[in-house]
């Protein structure tokens, strides 16, 4: 199924894009999608333990199951303020 990926800050720079379209198996979790991205962009691997995510503009766990058309954002550690 197709999902939309959004990337921010350093993750965006690593991938060279703020948005990507990706196809993942039905029932895939956000983690599965992340691991797939990390194959395409190996520098993402550094973020495997610190990345967090959001699905359709809400915080989500990496264990969340994705649905067709979901917008999945991956967030490096934040530094607002």
């Amino acid at each position: 199924m197709l999902v939309k990926v959004r990337l921010f800050a350093r993750l965006r720079e690593i991938a060279g894009a703020s948005e990507l379209a990706r196809s993942v198996p039905a029932g895939a979790t956000a983690r599965v999608l992340w691991d797939q991205l990390a194959v395409d962009f190996p520098a993402l691997e550094d973020y495997g333990n610190v990345v967090s995510c959001a699905v359709n503009d809400d915080y989500a766990r990496l264990t969340a199951t994705l649905n067709e058309g979901d917008e999945v954002a991956f967030l490096p550690p934040v530094s607002g303020g």
Partner: protein, 166 residues
């Protein structure tokens, strides 16, 4: 001032914007007749960080989620200090040295709660708001990476309450 729905919540209390921040506006958003104290926190861009001479910062935000994070912080504060009202405005894009990157205000009947809530809010913003600081310094640039954003992390939230001396 018109703004897209993604930039601000309906009542204007939470905002992510590329325009300069105005503390008077933000203070007014939380003031009410029964309110005796407003504490405002302004975060300014410093000219030095970790031994580097900073030239400017670029802030990137995931706007809709940042607004939700600010609302969560406001709800958490109101849950702890019943009569507290918060507003949080955060800048995006390029912010020059000496300019405000964030201004927040907490209003309450009494000053102790306004101080505690504002102190809590800035700690919490740094913990969970999906906003990133890209530091441009003399000789290079670097993304600042702080906390892994996890709004459900209870220990982090309690640490922020702790800092507030509440």
């Amino acid at each position: 001032m018109p703004s897209t729905p993604r930039e601000t919540t309906a009542d204007g209390r939470y905002r992510v914007t590329s325009k300069p921040l105005d503390s008077t506006v933000i203070t007014r958003l939380v003031s009410a007749p029964g309110c005796g104290a407003v504490v405002t926190f302004t975060g300014l861009v410093r000219d030095a960080n970790a031994g580097r001479r900073v030239l400017w910062l670029d802030y990137e935000a995931y706007e809709p989620l940042a607004l939700k994070a600010f609302e969560q912080i406001g709800d958490e504060a109101a849950g702890r200090w019943a009569a507290v009202r918060l507003a949080i405005h955060h800048r995006t894009g390029r912010v020059a040295i000496g300019e405000a990157s964030v201004i927040l205000a907490a209003a309450s009947a009494h000053r102790a709660d306004a101080f505690a809530a504002s102190r809590f809010a800035i700690e919490r913003i740094k913990q969970i708001a999906p906003i990133w600081k890209h530091e441009h310094f003399e000789g290079g640039e670097v993304w600042i990476e702080g906390a892994t954003a996890d709004p459900l992390d209870i220990a982090a939230r309690e640490a922020a309450f702790e800092r507030a001396c509440s």
